[in-house]
Subunit: 419 residues, 2 copies
């Protein structure tokens, strides 16, 4: 074994050995830790900003784009937001120990399904250093141990934030190895990490398509992907035009760089002549590049031609592709063919068409008369989220605290044996 | 791409394209299919036995053991049992479409979590051909498409049983590709199958440790393992001796070749002198080879010495290892160190010790005063099972129909957008 492999194995093993401790922490203790971290974020703000400056200087030197550097920055306002988020998680119910279901068998066995933590979770993420705090604290509250691997561009910030968490754990007499971070960020180290199936129960990668492909290829640990969203809004024949405009605008423009932003707008041919001209106009005013199929271009002749590739592309940018369809069935088939089962919305006043859309499409979130941007743990009421799973296994869609747990069967008898 | 790879890809792709059809089959239709298969099993019994004879002849020629040949045999009684099982699954509630939870957000969005099928499930199994019917029908009832890969020793039986299922599907006008089987059983074909992550959502391997290792190494598709069980019974200081004897006997002897049979018996030192002598006697009468640590051997001097390797071994045979411990804490630590988080039982009249055991051990099933043999979907009331998952992700413990589904979020609004 190489020195690197040994080092990573030792981190994973320490995490594994701490898992029973993390699993059995009382709710009160976990909340005190979260409060301690929130307080430390505020009192140690200057140190955080100082560590963050090292990343910013390196980013500037490496000529990163302004947008990318912006994602890296930690300032007073963002640190306050992190502390605020922590205090929100503190108020959420503890999922561990919840009795999900309970029943009695004919032979008198009392069976219940009880929520338990998953064990050790490895999280791979990029850029934004606030994920370090978010992810660590969601794992902590759900009784899990976490091994973090942030991006190289945020390494100084991340290492400092983990040190801050570990200082709080130490001051409260809790095993610090509940939260660890890989000090190296290269793929070689990641390659060692994803082989630790004896010690790590779940890997959550958050990032782009190449990271997902890499994980699929290399991980020997179960993976719940946070993959791309090729999300759709379908404006049905009977849609309210103003509502459709509002939703199609919000889904594309409000925050184009995220996975639940809409990429393709499908429009019923009967409403297209009324709906599209002003919609295209509004997009253009917002700086959105509009592409379309032949039928759409007949209505909005100034728009570019959409190719087959467009239908399957997650732009994460101010670009939209428009296709005119002749029925809700054609819209559903388009989404089944090109979509990524992330988020799809129908705008319609026709309940039958709505039900067909909601029923036939098995994307993680399907909406009727609402923006795709609501595919989010906070927005849907899960309280917080570690991300949006695109893997159907275990958790599909936004993952909150509950989704970071599993259940065991607890059986109470009076000497029953199997005949 | 090789011819084999193309062939397997085509099977997986056909399965994927059929998934929306399978997902939307009405409960009534699915039950009619199950009834049709049950009836066909009985009317085509002679053909089944004829196909099965080919496997039996090959097995005899290959000098397989009598026990292994016995697992392969399909006779009138076993075929009737398969038909009976199918009719049991028919009576179970359809999990698809179930609204698991429903709530309203402050902005008026109505959110619900609705059960949907996973999509396409690949199942790898060995020997017993009745698994072909079991697995196919559980996948069918839960709205999933299945690709089966049985063992080479049962290939003629399996291919015929799948043909029988597909005949029923055809006669009822349902797409036959909902159930497919790999005609080749070698690892090369399996290697192609587990690369089809674009078309298959879940792989379930049922088999020995080498299959599990192989899956971990090669699968690019999420895997829910059905791995080994190193299961424990702990007889506490305050156990009722007769109850403890009954449970420890049942857990080891009733069916030693299965994953929920006990392998290690832990006994509190204060009860050991009373409990062990007659327990060891009973095991010997049942032909069980008894091994033990130093303390156990002082009480039962005729027993063999247990090595460190014994504590971590799944015998699947009439062998038991006994260890004498000084507290419930020592028993728990032993299980945490050597166990496989499958099934553990405590026999005690002390509720505090019971709670500590049930609470601290996060195995898939933990029991108080009952045999480990109850870790079984049917016994725990899930109605039927596709196996016992040892993966914490998605489903932990026995997997019934519900565990073959996931949930999507369905959101109904009145034009809400994200601010």
């Amino acid at each position: 074994m190489t020195t690197l492999a040994k080092k990573i194995e030792s981190i994973a093993k320490k995490a594994h050995l701490t898992a029973p401790t993390a699993a059995k922490l009382a709710t009160e203790t976990k909340n005190q830790i979260l409060e301690g971290i929130a307080a430390a974020l505020l009192t140690r703000q200057d140190e955080i900003i100082k560590a963050n400056q090292k990343d910013i200087r390196a980013a500037t030197k490496n000529k990163m784009t302004t947008a990318m550097i912006d994602r890296l920055i930690l300032d007073a306002k963002r640190i306050q937001a992190m502390a605020h988020e922590l205090r929100e998680v503190k108020t959420l119910p503890d999922p561990v120990g919840e009795i999900v279901k309970r029943w009695t068998r004919p032979n008198g066995l009392e069976v219940s399904r009880v929520r338990i933590p998953l064990g050790v979770i490895g999280i791979i993420y990029e850029s934004r250093p606030n994920v370090t705090i978010d992810a660590a604290c969601l794992c902590l509250k759900s009784g899990n141990v976490v091994v973090l691997r942030g991006g190289s561009e945020a390494i100084h910030s991340n290492i400092f934030l983990v040190k801050l968490i570990r200082d709080v754990l130490k001051s409260q007499g809790i095993d610090q190895d509940i939260v660890q971070i890989l000090p190296m960020t290269d793929r070689k180290a990641m390659g060692c990490l994803v082989k630790q199936s004896a010690f790590i129960d779940l890997m959550i990668p958050r990032g782009g398509e190449s990271l997902m492909k890499w994980m699929e290829e290399h991980s020997r640990i179960p993976v719940v992907k946070h993959d791309k969203g090729v999300c759709h809004v379908y404006v049905d024949e009977s849609a309210q035009v103003t509502m459709a405009e509002k939703i199609a605008y919000n889904a594309k423009v409000q925050r184009p760089g995220v996975c639940n932003a809409m990429e393709t707008l499908l429009v019923h041919e009967k409403i297209a002549p009324v709906f599209l001209p002003s919609m295209i106009q509004k997009y253009k005013e917002a700086g959105v590049e509009v592409r379309g199929d032949e039928k759409a271009r007949k209505i909005g002749p100034s728009i570019k031609k959409a190719t087959k590739k467009d239908w399957a592309t997650e732009y994460l940018d101010l670009i939209v592709s428009i296709r005119v369809v002749s029925s809700v069935d054609e819209a559903i088939r388009h989404i089944q063919k090109y979509g990524s089962t992330h988020t799809e919305s129908i705008v319609t006043e026709n309940p039958k068409n709505a039900e067909e859309f909601l029923n036939r499409l098995d994307s993680s979130v399907v909406l009727w008369n609402a923006s795709t941007r609501f595919n989010d743990g906070g927005q849907l009421g899960l309280g917080a989220e570690i991300g949006i799973s695109t893997t159907k296994l275990h958790a599909f869609g936004p993952m909150g605290l509950e989704e970071l747990t599993t259940t065991k069967f607890v059986v109470k008898g009076r000497g029953q044996i199997r005949e």
